[in-house]
Each structure stands twice: as C-alpha cells, then as structure tokens.
Amino acid sequence: MPDTVKLEVFRYRPEGEGAPVYETFEVPYRDEWMVLDALNHIKDHQDGTLSYRWACRMGVCGSCGMTVNGEPVLTCATYLEPFLPGPIRVEPLHGFPVIRDLVGDLEDFVEKLQRVKPWIIREEEKPTSEGEYLQTPEEMDAYKRYSMCINCMLCYAACPIYELEPGFIGPAAIALAQRYNLDSRDEGARERHEVLAEHEGVWSCTFVGECSIVCPKDVDPAGAIQRYKVDATLDFFRSLVTPGRSP
C-alpha cells in the first residue's frame, strides 16, 4: 500500500483565471479513507479555499456527489482504494453549471422537483377524528423504492439527455412524481400528468439507463420513467377506442 495518493482536483475560481484548471494535491493514503476524507485533508492542511459540499458523511444527506474518475458518486461512500495507484480525478457533477471548484448550481433541479408536486395531494382531506390513512404492505411496496431518493442528483449527472437538453425534467423528479402517483393515499396523478406528459417530461428520455446504475439508493428512476411511458401510451390508445375519454 502506498503512503500517499495524488488527487487531481477541478478548480474553478470565477474571480481568477476564468477558465477551470486541474490542481494536483498529494494526500496521505489510508485504507479506510473515502474520497471525501482526502478532500477534507486538502482543505484542512493544504488549501482552505477548496470549495465543495458535504454534510453527513454517511450517505444520507446527498450533498457530496462529485465526478470521480468520470463516474458520478457520493464521495463519502467511495473508498480511495479502488483508484490506486492514482492519480484520482475529482470533478463537479456533470450537467450542472459550476459556481466554484466542485460546487454546482442546483437551482434547476430544485425548481423541477417542485413542478412535479412531490407531496400527497388529496381532493378532500378527511377529518383527523376519522383517524389515519391506512395502507397495506402491498400498497406501501408499490412506491417504497422511489421514496428512498435522497436528492443527490447523481442520476442527473449520469444522464446525457439532461446534459444535452437542460429542459428535461430528469430522472429523480420523475421517480419522485411516481413515488406519489403510486401511493394509495394520493389523488394528484392528473396534476402531475400535466408536467410529465410534456415532451420535456418523460418523452425526452431515451432510456440510456445510467441513472438507475449510479443511484446509491437503488431507486431505479429509469424504471419509473419507462413505466410512466407505458401507462401514458396505454391510456392514449385506450382513449382512442373509448370515446369521451381524454388521455
């Protein structure tokens, strides 16, 4: 095992050079270190101006997503070890404009997430006195997988379509729309359909499938999108043979 490992870190300083550069740092190598530990070592001991996001260090906050040797990963859950002997290239997530160094601008995702109304919509709330909304284990199983999303945006970074067509609503937002569409307590599918049935909703997707592969929580956004396409298509062809029914 080596004593040190080199990291080539993407640096973008808007007040400085204008164009991004790769800066090489040499950090101690430890078997138990994640890429995030190496970045923290750089920030604490070599260059305090290095900018990146992180919080929980345990793969639930979803803020430390970066591109490591070309793949979008959570840096808190990615060991240095498989990249030996290095150098390890650390870049911001693809598909998002870079504000500084490894920090991307995530406004676009947040705006799209709100557009699909990721909350339970009821036509009428039942009074509290009538008790809670009960669900069978099967009913919960229908959406549970999609509810595991931590909004880390690795799926957006893996999606070439999002990078090519920034208008595309994207994998996580559609998976979260499906998380509520498939919830037995929810009645908002029609409202979400307004957004999802647009060309920039599900139809921009060409099923590259990488979103589901990089997802650290096994949410399977690609599956959610294809299922929505199948359902929307069946509804459309049914509406053709059933007059008076709108797709």
Binding site: G18, G48, G70, P97, D141, P160, L164, F207, G223, Q226
Partner: protein, 156 residues
C-alpha cells in the same frame, strides 16, 4: 504534501484571499462555468457507447424489413428471378455483410428483452412478478417463435 507553512483560509480578510483578476467578476454574484457537451459525447463512457450502438440497431431492423419485402417481390417475379436472387445472396461478401446485420439484430433483441422488466411491472394475485421471470418469459417467447419460424420455413 505541500509545505505546512500557511494554509489559505478562504476568508476575505485573509491576505491570501484571491483578488479578482478577472475584470468581469463581481463579488457575491455567481459567475457560472458551463461545460459544453462534446459532439462525440457517446464515446465518453462505455455505457454511452453501448447505448448509441443499441440505438443504431434501428438500421439493421430497417434493412431486414426491406430485405423481407424485397424477397416477396422477387418471389412474385417467377423462378428465374428467384434463382438469380439466391445466387446473389450466396456471394461471400453479401453473406459476410448479412452476418453483420444479423449480429445487429441480435444486439437489438438482447438489449430489448433485457430491459423488459424496467417497463413492465406485473402483479399476479397481489404479488409482484420478479424481474428475472419477466425476462425469462420474453426469452422463452423468443425461442418459441424462432423455433416456429424455423419449423415453418426450414424444417420440412
């Protein structure tokens, strides 16, 4: 490791704070760097290359459909036309090309069938059918139909 002398802190009061040498920069206002997607983006990752190859199987599918219609047309032109057509098909260069087309078709079939459980979620008696069963059923249908085609067109 770099020298342990002095680590820039990133604070504005820090003498080492990067001074704006870029005249277009305004402090506290984002000045984004946007990466452009290269035209050969599908070479960036093996998965993207596979994806574009999968999408390009539309061409073998197109070719084979035209080929089948062409064969129907030749059959309508009588035995001599058919004989010429068969001789033409036996040419090694065309056979090699057709082997390549067949490989493209098989890539289409395999990628298509492997992705079926993503699009289909089936429930029987309230229980979700596992993905491998959906894929298996599709491969079974493929083998069955291929066997039937062989039996009808080449089995006798």
């Amino acid at each position: 490791m770099k020298s342990q002398a002095r680590i820039p802190t990133g604070r504005i009061s820090d003498p080492g704070y990067p001074r704006a040498s870029n005249p277009e920069y305004t402090r506290h206002h984002p000045r984004w760097y946007r990466r452009r997607m290269p035209i050969f983006w599908w070479l960036r990752k093996l998965a993207y290359t596979k994806f574009i190859l999968r999408e390009l199987t539309s061409q073998p599918v197109m070719y084979v459909t035209l080929f089948l219609l062409g064969k129907m047309w030749v059959l309508s032109r009588g035995p001599e036309a058919y004989e010429t057509f068969i001789q033409w098909l036996s040419h090694p260069a065309l056979l090699a090309f057709h082997a390549l087309v067949l490989a493209g078709l098989l890539f289409h079939t395999v990628t298509w069938l492997n992705l079926t459980p993503k699009a289909l979620v089936l429930r029987v008696a309230g229980r979700k059918i596992p993905g491998w069963a959906i894929v298996g059923a599709h491969y079974g249908a493929w083998l069955g139909l291929s066997g039937a085609i062989f039996w009808i067109l080449a089995g006798r």
